[in-house]
Amino acid sequence: MVGKIPKIAVYKFASCDGCQLSIVDLEDELLEINQKFEIAYFMEVTRAAKRGPYDVGLVEGSISTPHAIELIKSIRKDCKTLVAIGACATAGGIQALRNWANVEEFSKYVYAKPEYIQTLEKSSPISEYVQVDFELRGCPVNKYQLLEVLSAFLAGRKPNIPTYSLCIECKRKGNVCVTVAKSVPCLGPVVQAGCGALCPAYSRGCYGCFGPMESPNVKSLASKFIELGMDKKDVILNFRGFTGWSKEFREVDVLIEG
């Protein structure tokens, strides 16, 4: 970037706020970010809102209401570079669990006053509605990866965000594989690196915050889980977590049934 300070906007859709909070969690860098970027729109931290267009837009959250569809389209027009941050924005998030709910069964339930609520049938990633320039994975995103994306933007380079498996990160870190050493089902072999292989480091299996890796062999891993004694239903649940609605994980049930 040459010359003027790039304007940044941060948006939120259906989400827990965790991903945008990651910016504020960069305690050591926050004030510098504020110098290198003009924080033009970021409701969670400032009342002041500047009009677009913006150089970068960071979008957290999934699209799940009719209003959100309109909004994301206008955001796309406002932002030269649009970055979707987090599992909600890149895979529909945990709230996408409702995407499997049978619509008919859904409507049979009468909740308090359904007419008050507007919602779409599905919770979808941003890319379902508009073109996204970069997707940063994670539930939440890794704040250092977020910083890397911002630094890379300023330097005009490709962010160093690997798309290979979590296992690579796990082994580099020196963790002992929980699947091999303890028969604990771990999604690591089909999940993208990025978190720092946290779960295996805490002696538990990865549950998929970062979504599918570049070329996930879901079927093979699912068979392994079954071999470890999990029943099919639980295997499906295992894949159907925070990034369950990603294209590669969505149809695990079909893959298992063959």
Partner: protein
């Protein structure tokens, strides 16, 4: 993500890991390709053999392998011709302002210019593939008497995509070389050949026992060129091609440029076909 290594806290010592060059001139060759002339900031001279490449570093952006494309006799102004395809190449050609371009090299082997003395030489280039061959052309033309017949076939997508247009014109008008140029698709002004580079072979007749071929271009172009050369009777030991693989270090340590049993960075980038025919053109090797 980077994890902090313990070494990061260790004492740091100033060193030369790469030489620094300034960008003296930038020529726009085609809409997406530029030739850079670089001058060593340390004022020491620089020499290479045709076919070699450097690792060029744009500050904070990254480092990529780029062939030397200038005159091997020029020691203080080295040339690189770069097609902008991504972040690093983009940063390099737009790097007029920064203080320096980092350079490591030269790496790799060169075209077999000694061994081919006294023989006919045919050079076949496709697109940006002409860049690593230009130093060889310079060399042969400078030592013209030491070689036999000299053919030059070059193809690009459109007339606009032809590199070194001035020199092409000069080469075409020379009597001591046979230069043929073609484009995949012409435009109103184009009066030359149209068709892929292999269609140029109909214009020439090689002496199979006495000719060496140097080929560089996209892998698919090289594949068909090799077939043509074989058609004309050249044996694989006389066909040399320049390979491209992902490279991160240029020093044979990162492992990424492996091609069959070879490291493109240290055993190549130039290989004779008989070295690699087992692997060349096979899917995903």
């Amino acid at each position: 993500m980077k994890e902090k290594s313990t070494l990061e806290t260790a004492q740091e010592v100033e060193v030369e890991v790469m030489r620094k060059f300034s960008v003296e001139e930038v020529f726009k060759e085609t809409p997406d390709t530029y030739t850079l002339l670089l001058k060593p900031l340390d004022k020491k001279d620089y020499s290479f053999v045709p076919g070699q490449f450097n690792m060029l570093y744009a500050f904070g952006v990254g480092e990529v392998p780029i062939s030397l494309s200038g005159d091997p006799d020029e020691k203080y102004l080295i040339a690189h011709t770069i097609r902008v395809v991504g972040a690093v190449t983009n940063a390099l050609v737009n790097a007029r302002k920064p203080k320096f371009i980092g350079l490591r090299g030269p790496f790799g082997n060169g075209w077999p210019l000694e061994k081919t003395k006294g023989k006919d030489v045919i050079i076949v280039a496709g697109g940006i593939g002409l860049a690593p061959l230009r130093p060889a052309i310079y060399y042969i033309l400078k030592h013209r008497k030491e070689y036999g017949r000299f053919f030059f076939l070059y193809g690009a997508r459109t007339p606009n995509d032809l590199l070194y247009k001035k020199e092409l014109k000069e080469w075409k008008s020379r009597f001591d070389m046979d230069a043929f140029i073609t484009v995949d698709a012409g435009d109103e002004k184009w009066t030359g050949n149209i068709g892929v580079v292999t269609t140029l072979f109909k214009h020439i007749k090689l002496d199979p026992n006495n000719t060496y071929a140097f080929v560089c271009g996209p892998e698919i172009m090289m594949k068909f060129t090799v077939l043509e050369l074989r058609n004309q009777g050249l044996t694989d030991d006389k066909i040399y091609i320049s390979m491209e693989r992902n490279m991160k270090c240029g020093m044979g340590l990162c492992g990424r440029c492996q091609f069959g049993p070879y490291f493109v960075c240290k055993n190549g980038p130039i290989f004779s076909m008989d070295q690699i025919n087992r692997f060349f053109g096979r899917r995903e090797v």
